[in-house]
Every structure is written in C-alpha cells, then in structure tokens.
Amino acid sequence: MPIGVMLSDILSSLFKKPATEQYPFVKEPVPERLRGELFWDPAKCTGCQLCVKDCPADALELIVLDKVNKRFVLRYNADKCIYCGQCVMNCRFKCLNMSNEQWELAATSKAPFLVNYGRDEDVQFLLDKAAQEEGPVPCEKP
C-alpha cells in the first residue's frame, strides 16, 4: 500500500528555489511574438479601411482628412483592443505592427488609452478642431 508517493518531490523542493515568478519585481523576458500595443506608420497607409472593418472590438478608427494627399489619422483605443492581431494581418502595406515591448498598459485613467497616430500636424489639426468645437472629439466614422 504505497502512500506518500510525492515524497521525493516534496523533499527536493525543500532545497529548491520557489517556482513562483515574482512578477512586478522580477520580469521574465517576453516572447518575440507577443502582441502588445499597436503602432501605425502613416507613410504607407492608403486608407483602405480594411483594418477598421475587421476589428472585432471596434478599437480602430481611421479619420480621413484628405484622401488625395493621404492625410489620415488612426485613432486607436487601446482599452477596447483585444490584441488579436487581425488588423496587422489584414494590412497589405504593412503599416501596422504590434509591439512586444509595450504591454504593461495598466493605468489609473482612461486618457493614455486613446492614441492618435499620424503626422504631428494632422493630429494637431484634429485636436484643434475638436477644441474649437468644444465638443467631444469627433468619433463618427468617415
């Protein structure tokens, strides 16, 4: 009648370091393919909207300022994002990619979760327009 079969494991553990990862103090390296925060490169975007259409969480919004001159602003709601990577997959011009460094996204307010990507002047233009209207930042899809 064998009892206490786990004895060897238990005894060896007595002289081992705990397997627990002490997360906030000790950080393990992250995998290369980790899907973290989304980044967008305005230079290559053609404004096809494929990323917006297939986003399962409605986290993306492409604001067209000037279609001809390719002036777009991508509004990214990091708090809605489910980090599935479908937008990166959909983009034919490889202007989207997901960082494997920016993933500790916890914050105490909503502000850092609304990210406007685009050329600085375009983003500024949008913000100014919103400030002028004194209403909420326009969120209607173009």
């Binding site: 009892i3 079969v5 786990m6 494991d9 980090y83 494997n100």
Partner: protein
C-alpha cells in the same frame, strides 16, 4: 442565506459562488447526513449571448468572439469555426496551416489536461499535486506563448489558414519542453495510480458503466473512461488528423480513477503527435483566400475539444454576416451524467465528480443580460455603468 432546515429536506447549495467552483454554476444537493438524495443544476451566470451576437458581426470578427467563448479551449473553438466557414465558402486551408492548427490543438489539449489534473487534485484536497501540476503546466503555456505570442487567446487561426509559422528554433524549444513534460507526466501517472490516499478518493467513485455512458450520450474523456471509443479526431478526422492519426485512449473502469488515467494517457498521445507533426511538417503556404461574402449555405463542424466533442452549426445567407451560429459545447453533454450519478454518493465526493467531467461553465453558457423588473430587456453598457455608479455611491 435563508435558514431552511427541515427534517425532510436538507439542501446544500453549491454555487454560484463557492470555493469549489472557479466559475459560476448553481447546484443544489439534497442530503441525508453525508449522502446525496437529489441534485439539480442551474446555469446561465456567465451567459453572454454569444450566439446572438454572432449574427451582428462579420465572419472575421466572429472568429475572435467565438475564440473567447472559453479561455482554456480557445483554439479549438476558433478551429471549429474556421473549419465551418471554410466548408461554407468551399475552400480548404493549405496543408502546412492544417498541421500548425493541429499542433496548437494538441498543445492546448496538453495544457487543458494538466490544468484539469491540478483542479481535480485540489477538489480532492491534494494541494501539493495541484501546485506541482500547475507549475509544470507553465512549461506548455510558455511553449504556446512563444509560438503564438499569447498565453490564452492564441489567435492562431484566421479564415483560410493560420497567422503563425513554426521555425526550426521553435520546433527545438517545443521538443525540449515536451520531453520535460513527458517525464513529469510519468511521475503524475505514478502518483494518481499508486498513492493509496488519493486512490481512496477516486477509485469506485462516480462509476459510470459503458451502457450508462452510452445512454446519456457522454462525450470526451468522460465517455472514454467508461470504455466508449468516441473521439472526433479518429471518427471524423479534421485539420491534419487524417495525416497524423491518433489512437483512441479508453479505460474500462468508468470511475474517477479511470478518468485520471484516460486523461494522462491522452497526454502521452498528444506528446507523440506533437513530435510527429514537428518532424513531418508539410511545407507550403500558410493562408488561402476566403471571400468576404459567403453564399447561402449550411455547414456542420465537429471537433474534439479537450473536454469532448464540440459541435458547431453554421448557416450563411449570402452577406458578410452569418445567419445563425449554434455552438454546442462538450460540457453541456456531460452535465446529464453528473446529475444522474450524484444520487447516492457522498457529499465529500461531489466536488471531485463535478470536476471529473472537467466542466466549463463559460462554455455551457454563452449576455450579460440583467433584468430588474425594468422595461428593458437588455442593459446597454451605459445603463450598466450608471447602475454601477448608483449602486456603489
């Protein structure tokens, strides 16, 4: 909790919040002393109305919604769905994609079975086994994380293929991890089959004979522990299972001990399969094109989730959105077995028997719909938020 103590009926409620259940479900056991004389089940605490929601999203978006039905078997839900959609659209994913899907399926099965081993041990008060099996489960979680980028919702599938590729370096890491896990699994097999105190809690507990399991249409490891050789991977091979056939693992016992043995033996089978797939990974494309609009059609997709047969029924109507998606998860099938077998057992055995079928409540329920005698049928997020603010003020 109201005091309802009458000499005839003494009901022990388990759930919706109870330390034995990590997910909400409500069971009422009528007991006489320690012996159970009646049992009922009530689910729906995590019903999210996913089936309804699918009708409002396009085919691609649904993939991610359905992947989130269950955290543990996320990949298999996505696989069942993409197979269904591919059947509707009449396309087939390339062989390499199919093999990678299979690889992730098997890795997921390993992680699910290891998780189950820990949970079942915990329900039996064997916390040491619980801690060790979960520690070793981290190995396979790390493999999945390295492969897909995430620990839980791997998001490997896309319509018509997979997102990720497996290179030599990753294959080597996976092989190494699998070797380690195989050694540990042998050890756990020894523990659950020889440790007398543990066997005292599993042997001849919740025994279900072949005929009973057959009559109640049990699926998955629960059925296989009763000797029913029912496994979709062998019966109706999907993805790359035709090329990498599996051996169906069965046991005769039908009790909890047999369910442990079946699941652990399935781990070995999964290890073998993972190695085989890595050795013979077909070369080629990863994706193929799937049209955005899918003509009117119907498809049924069946796959073997870690818990048993997962059944998807899909109906398209020629638009970008599905007409109807029906999901029948394995846990639903197995509830009947638990409720029928509770009677006559000891209360102390119940948590283990509940855990024995590896229930997944999120799978069984699929809307946060709150109704408090107001006129609304469903609360929007805004209502919910306002309600929350009012409540906590």
């Amino acid at each position: 909790m109201e005091a309802k103590v009458s000499p005839q009926k003494f009901i022990v409620p388990i759930g919706p919040q109870h330390p034995a259940l990590k997910e909400p479900g409500h069971f009422e056991f009528t007991v006489e002393g320690e012996i159970i004389t009646g049992a009922t089940v009530r689910l729906g605490y995590v019903h999210r109305g996913i089936e309804k929601s699918t009708e409002d999203r396009n085919w691609v978006q649904n993939l991610y919604l359905l992947e989130r039905i269950c955290g543990i078997c996320s990949h298999i839900h996505a696989t069942a769905y993409v197979l269904g959609v591919e059947a509707l659209a009449n396309v087939t994913a390339p062989p390499r994609a199919q093999a990678i899907r299979t690889l992730v399926c098997e890795l997921e099965r390993i992680h699910s079975h290891m998780l189950w081993l820990g949970v079942a041990a915990h329900e039996g008060g064997f916390d040491t086994l619980f801690m060790y099996s979960w520690r070793d489960r981290e190995t396979v979680m790390d493999l999945l994380e390295g492969l897909s980028g995430n620990r839980v919702n791997y998001s490997v599938n896309v319509l018509g293929g997979v997102k990720i590729d497996v290179d030599e370096k990753q294959a080597a890491t996976i092989r190494k991890g699998i070797d380690f896990l195989e050694g540990r699994t042998q050890y756990y097999m020894k523990v659950v089959t020889t440790d007398e105190t543990f066997l005292g809690r599993t042997r001849n507990v919740g025994t279900m004979t072949y005929d009973q399991a057959d009559a109640l249409a049990a699926v998955g490891p629960t059925a296989r522990a009763s000797g029913i050789a029912r496994d979709v991977r062998a019966d109706a091979p999907y993805v790359a299972y035709p090329d990498f056939p599996i051996k169906v693992i069965t046991e005769r016992g039908g009790d909890l001990a047999a369910r442990f043995v079946v699941r652990i033996n399935e781990l070995y089978e999964s290890y073998r399969l993972v190695r085989e797939i890595l050795d013979k990974l077909p070369v080629g494309e990863l994706t193929t094109r799937v049209p955005r609009r899918i003509p009117e059609n119907e498809a049924i997709s069946r796959v073997e989730a870690p818990r048993g047969e997962l059944f998807y029924y899909l109906k398209s109507n020629g638009t970008e959105k599905p007409e109807r998606i029906k999901v029948r998860t394995p846990s639903i099938c197995n509830w009947a077995t638990v409720m029928n077998f509770a009677i006559g057992l000891k209360l102390a055995d119940m948590p283990m028997i509940l855990a024995g079928i590896d229930p997944c409540f999120s799978c069984s329920d699929r809307a946060v719909i709150i109704n408090r005698k107001s006129q609304s049928q469903e609360w929007s997020w805004e209502d919910l938020r306002q309600y929350g603010i009012k409540y906590y003020r």
